[in-house]
């Protein structure tokens, strides 16, 4: 599904190297988790994959379903099936959440050569998905993320994911800022999307999320590299002992 090879990335302006050779493959139907200390490059990886400006790939490759994505525009990557749930969802004053969702859905369909969804079908779909995430109608009417609490913003990310049904979902700390109940809602939302044709890359600092979304593989990222890969037990180890031992081991 997602294949990252020897990915080296630096900041365009400062020339500072952030990713120093990331190797990672997420297979269809699997959930991979990435953990790692603050500033190790997890968000940078997710941004580079989704096509944000400001980074320069100096080496390596990334492909989605066999297609090189690093040269593609962000919108083309989205249409190809990539989705990033942002660590810090962006507020867009003046653009209604509904308009945003509908424009996004239809834009992706158009890029894939499919018909637009009708207004009625769209409404039905949004209402149904929003209900399961306990997002009320009033929130849908507001401008995108404006005045949303931290947890509401995260739920809104998952709503977008549920609407767009991407093939490869990257979740960057979607659990941070969520209360216990919201964590359950969001996890249920993610689990509902789990199927044989879809891959997940879940970035988190806490085992708690992984109790709900059971990962198949856990990676530890440090200083721009994956330093260790293992099963779910690796997350438990981090939870118990922190990163010190793992970092020492890697040197």
């Amino acid at each position: 599904m997602l294949e990252i090879k020897n990915l080296h990335v630096e900041l365009e302006e400062e020339g500072k190297q952030i990713l120093k050779g990331v190797d990672l493959t997420v297979e269809a139907g699997k959930v991979h988790a990435i953990m790692g200390p603050n500033g190790s490059g997890k968000s940078t990886l997710s941004y580079v994959l989704s096509g944000r400006d400001g980074y320069r790939v100096t080496d390596g490759s990334a492909s989605l379903l066999g297609e090189d994505i690093l040269e593609m525009e962000p919108e083309a990557r989205a249409a190809a099936g990539l989705f990033l749930a942002f660590q810090y969802p962006v507020e867009i004053p003046g653009v209604g959440n509904m308009t945003f969702l509908r424009t996004a859905l239809n834009a992706q369909r158009k890029l894939r050569g499919e018909d637009e969804v009708s207004a009625a079908d769209f409404l039905k779909l949004v209402r149904e998905k929003a209900k399961t995430l306990k997002i009320d109608a009033e929130m849908l009417k507001r401008p995108v993320n404006v005045g949303f609490s931290g947890g509401e913003k995260k739920r809104n990310e998952i709503l977008q994911m549920a609407m767009l049904e991407p093939k490869m979902c990257i979740l960057d700390e979607t659990d941070s800022g969520l209360d216990v109940d919201a964590m359950k809602l969001v996890s249920d939302g993610v689990n509902a999307l789990r199927d044989a044709g879809r891959g997940f890359l879940v970035i988190t600092h806490y085992q708690r999320l992984l109790d709900h979304i059971k990962p198949d593989v856990v990676h530890i990222m440090s200083d721009g590299r994956i330093i260790k890969t293992g099963g779910p037990e690796l997350a438990l180890e981090v939870e118990k002992n922190g990163y010190a031992d793992l970092l020492a081991e890697a040197v």
Binding site: I92, G94, V95, T99, A104, A107, Q108, L111
Partner: protein, 432 residues
């Protein structure tokens, strides 16, 4: 103070270029006093403080600079599906064939040219009077020029709640037309009407609208100034707002080499409301774009509210100007005055100059003003694109979001949707 010879020459040359029409005694007098006013002020030049950001040379020149006609293609004209009373002017001349009958319940409508030949008419109390009043404290010579030479326009008196808008349609068919229109509107106590204006009018257009609102009157004004690139225009609205009356005006401007829209609003009664808003979009790629909104709101009554909301979207060397003033006179306690002017620059070649001013002589007032110039929010743009929205559609969404506060000043939902549709058409022509 004596005027400089150059300014006298400029003024006299312009005056000499027009014929002074003959009419009833009051009309002749109104025209002559207007010219006396004009001679005392002299036409503006680029050296005048009030014209610092907008060079008036093409507006004061004896003849109109040529202006190529714009082909709308298959684009739908604004207000097409709105039920309205249509009054059509072609290059500034009333066209009875294309216009509806000038009659509508709750309204008296007449052509200015006919009214000015009548010995006694209610409009003689207003024609040129609100304009004269609006010459202080800032001179507006092009408006006096208009009062002196206008031969056509409409004179409207609303006496009840009018069922549909009066729609002035200004067609531009000659590349050298130089149109001067003057409208006089009186909305009586408790009456309510909507005035629509659309179209570029002429190669060069000078328009004055005098609006007198009686207590509790309601007046809505929605204007779309057409899409012609090459035309020039200067428009003035002189508005008097009496007790508990509401004045609401919105203008959409797309394209235009040189457009100056002045609003002079005098709130004379208590509990009155005056809102003026504008959205201007300009692309200087092939033809220059220069747009100037100049607003002067005077508060004389207590407990009144005024709002100025002006937004401009500028690209490829487009030029935007805003000069806005709120003057609160000593008696105008509890004034609530708000003013915002913002420009969204889609590239680094475009310019926005703003001169927001507050002058307050009452102690119990709430007034705020702000002006900003900004680029597209890159974070928001990326967020949209990461959801599959292509670059130009995402930009358009952000442009519309930026304009929303101004567009929302249009109360009527259908008219608002219609203006949004026009915006879409403009944006669509620029989508890659």
């Amino acid at each position: 103070m004596a005027l400089a010879q150059a300014r006298i020459d400029l003024t006299e040359t312009r005056i000499a270029a027009y014929d002074l029409p003959e009419g009833a005694t009051w009309a002749n007098e109104a025209r002559h006093t207007a010219l006396t006013r004009l001679r005392a002020m002299g036409l503006p030049t680029a050296r005048d403080e009030y014209w610092k950001y907008t060079n008036p040379a093409e507006l004061t020149a004896p003849t109109a600079p040529e202006a190529a006609l714009f082909d709308m293609g298959t684009d739908r004209a604004v207000f097409t599906d709105i039920d309205r009373l249509k009054i059509v002017f072609v290059d500034g001349v009333f066209d009875p064939d294309q216009s509806d009958d000038l009659s509508l319940e709750g309204l008296e409508i007449a052509r200015l040219s006919a009214v000015m030949k009548t010995d006694i008419h209610w409009a003689m109390e207003l024609y040129g009077h609100l304009e004269t009043h609006g010459q202080d404290p800032v001179a507006r010579p092009l408006a006096a020029l208009n009062t002196g030479f206008a031969t056509d326009g409409v004179v409207i008196r609303a006496t009840g709640k009018v069922s549909k808008p009066v729609s002035l349609i200004y067609l531009h068919q000659s590349e050298t037309s130089d149109a001067v229109l003057h409208h006089v509107i009186r909305v009586e106590e408790g009456a309510e009407m909507t005035l629509l204006e659309q179209g570029p009018a002429a190669a060069r257009f000078n328009s004055v609208t005098e609006v007198d609102l009686a207590p509790t009157a309601r007046f809505h004004h929605i204007r779309a100034q057409g899409r012609d690139h090459a035309r020039r225009a200067v428009t003035h609205s002189f508005v008097r707002v009496a007790e508990a009356a509401h004045y609401k005006s919105f203008t959409l401007t797309c394209n235009g080499v040189l457009i100056r829209n002045e609003h002079v609003i005098d709130i004379v009664g208590d509990n009155a409301v005056a809102h003026v808003a504008g959205a201007a979009l300009g692309d200087g790629k092939r033809v220059e774009f220069h747009h100037d909104d100049t607003v002067f709101v005077t508060h004389r009554g207590e407990d009144c509210e005024s709002r100025q909301v002006f937004k401009k979207v500028l690209r490829n060397g487009a030029f935007g100007v805003f000069q806005g003033k709120i003057l609160v006179t000593p008696g105008a306690q509890k004034t609530d005055g708000y003013q915002i002017s913002q420009a969204l620059l889609l590239d680094e070649d475009s310019t926005f100059l703003a001169k927001p001013e507050l002058e307050i002589y009452a102690d119990d007032v709430k007034c705020s003003h702000g002006s900003t110039t900004g680029a597209i929010d890159e974070e928001a743009l990326f967020y949209l694109r990461s959801r599959g929205v292509d670059h130009s559609t995402a930009t358009d969404l952000l442009v519309l979001a930026f304009l929303a506060e101004a567009i929302d000043e249009i109360q009527d939902e259908m008219l608002r949707a219609d203006i949004l549709a026009q915006l879409d058409l403009w944006l669509a022509r620029r989508r890659d």
